[in-house]
Symmetry: C2
Subunit: 390 residues, 2 copies
């Protein structure tokens, strides 16, 4: 196990009706003037934004609001938010929605006290300060409610880049599984895929003898395998929604990933897909991740065999572990298909002829992770993804 | 899943040589005058206390020290610590050691700013303030490095009682697995047993459909089953020590226990053993917990069968799940025996004739947890424990 720090100071406020406590928690964590930041109309139409506003009013905390966050959040909205916060003397941001609203809120939080361009933080600079952020989560997927990470797309060039700092870890996150019940099956499955991908990026490591984090990863994965079909079959299954929602946090606050090398190549490869086609991140991952697995499997067959047996219940082939590994990857792709995810370019709406452009933009070369990848490797992974089937 | 709050704000600083950063972290978290609080001579003899002092000197943070914490920490030492902190204007406590030093430090932390008797907090009162606490952990067992809990024994009457508050969650905890390599096999096994017990107390619940927390519990348990024999066979196995150490934190910061009813009857029943015989808490749990399992198994046979198959690899007997459940309990007790734990009263040094006195002190009756227990039930569990064998 490698040396590590683990720090997840967010207070998680989980369960039915907890959004009504938002104002009280803002007050607890010192907010005096709030920006409510959210996406499309669903949070408004459902009455959620009104409930959040009421709880702020009840707590005596004034607020302004900024909606219209894009599903892959973009820099122009961040600039708008920074300007609004400065003008209105906002000192606390509450993101209502999924990863997009939260990531946009985190970008605004870093940008407000910074004199330069907030994009600096998405180009490698570490922030020195940030407004406190909190979340009212409506989609179990990104894990941003418990992470210090944020991903923003720069419209000019459609560059999708990440930033990370403990300063943008939410002070509190309200997780009410009932809020996710209105989510369409497709978005629900995208979320499940994203959660599984967050774990797989940590699971495929070159660090040996990390049983506890292996097992924690498998705990989240087994939960997805059990709960996702239940929630696809019955969107109003609160218990299944609750298990997925808590698993989504555990998958990405890094308790499953400490002390070990991580990969994240599938995320990088997928980001070019969602940047180019504006598809859902989870859908892109459903296409990319099993293809990446096929391509890198021989780097450590036994690790894939472990996944196959422990997560997907495949029988271990002791004479030929590679067959078990392949069966596990096949089971993963079949699982994704079964919950309604695309598994190849055609189903996603991606085009083979764009592969060179995506590889160019991704610009691999230094190589990192489980199996370092160069441009030719990434091209081949896109090619596998293009024609994948179950 | 029940509504819950989860809050674990401690910064965990994990790995080789990290104790040398203690001073820097005290400074980061605002400490100006430290009490170093520890137990017996081993932390001194090993040079650990000197390294902690050096790191405080290097950071320019003055300190006083108070050693001699008893393995089941007692109130008289707490009073001594409170007096010392007040006299020396201590504003930050660093506990060096295992759960005893940490729990004693937490008690002192609550007592210093309180005008009344600190024992009030161990009698149900919630503290309004506490000095910040940090830890340098030398024993993987209690999980106190990541919890808001503390257990203290009142010498007058040998009453062992607990207190809990977010105020006493450590600001940071330094976990260097190498520091646990000098721990004798018996204490190591006691720690493993305690870690498993912390999980089982959460695992046996009447809350249904809590797959994610079930799986997280099983992750810790499976890790213990794999790693404990390796560390008993080779005390210097750093990797096994590291897995056990991180699992010990995960087992008790409640990420495995949120949103579900918990039991804790075995802990209560054991506390009377260690209060009466001053035995190691883990050893007492090794005697009590499998006996408790046997007694309550019929309350939910399928839950015990789940444990048997998922944790101990027992084959599921679909015609007679109770046989699987029994096999799992048997496997647990055999595992404890294999790592050198006592499994009955004789091996622990307890006496059958003291059972009525322990039941009287425990004073069950209101009943709580997985299967509420009355005095007759507890008596029977002690009786099973008295004569247990593998």
């Amino acid at each position: 196990m490698e040396n590590f720090n683990f720090y997840s100071p967010t207070e998680f406020v989980f369960g039915r009706d907890r959004e009504n406590e938002c104002g009280a928690y803002v007050k607890k964590y010192g907010g005096k003037k709030v920006l409510i930041h959210y996406g499309g109309g669903s949070a408004v139409k459902s009455g959620l934004i009104d409930r959040v506003k009421k709880s702020l009013n009840d707590a005596g905390v004034p607020f302004v609001e900024l909606g219209g966050v894009h599903p892959n959040p973009i820099d122009t909205k961040v600039y708008e938010g920074i300007e609004l916060c400065r003008k209105e003397n906002v000192d606390f941001i509450v993101a209502v929605g999924g990863g997009s609203s939260i990531d946009s809120a985190k970008a605004i939080a870093m940008g407000v006290p910074y004199e330069g361009d907030f994009w600096d933080f998405y180009s490698g600079k570490a922030p020195a300060a940030a407004l406190p952020v909190a979340t009212v989560l409506t989609i179990a997927a990104a894990g941003s409610e418990g992470s210090g990470d944020s991903v923003i797309t720069k419209v000019d060039g459609m560059l999708k880049r990440g930033a990370g700092s403990d300063l943008i870890r939410p002070r509190f996150s309200i997780l009410n599984p009932a809020l996710t019940c209105t989510l369409p099956a497709y978005q629900t499955a995208c979320g499940v895929t994203d959660i599984m991908a967050h774990v797989f990026e940590r699971y495929f490591t070159n660090t040996t003898e990390v049983e506890i984090t292996d097992r924690l990863c498998e705990a989240v994965l087994c939960t997805m395998v059990k709960e996702a079909p239940r929630v696809i079959a019955d969107p109003n299954n609160y218990e299944a929604r609750a298990n997925i929602m808590w698993a989504g946090m555990v998958a990405h606050n890094n308790v499953c990933g400490v002390g070990r090398g991580q990969d994240w190549n599938s995320h990088a490869i997928e980001h070019e897909l969602s940047a180019m086609y504006d598809c859902a991140h989870g859908a892109g991952l459903a296409v990319i991740m099993p293809s990446w697995m096929e391509y890198v499997m021989n780097h450590n067959v036994m690790r894939f065999a472990q996944m196959a047996t422990r997560v997907f219940g495949c029988a271990m082939n002791f004479e030929n572990p590679a067959e078990t590994a392949k069966a596990g990857i096949k089971a993963f792709r079949a699982f994704l298909k079964s919950i309604g995810m695309p598994i190849n370019f055609a189903e996603l709406g991606a085009k083979v002829e764009d592969i060179p452009e995506m590889v160019r933009k991704l610009n691999p070369g230094n190589g990192w992770g489980f199996q370092p990848l160069k441009a030719a490797d990434v091209t081949e992974i896109y090619n596998i993804a293009a024609k994948a089937s179950v």
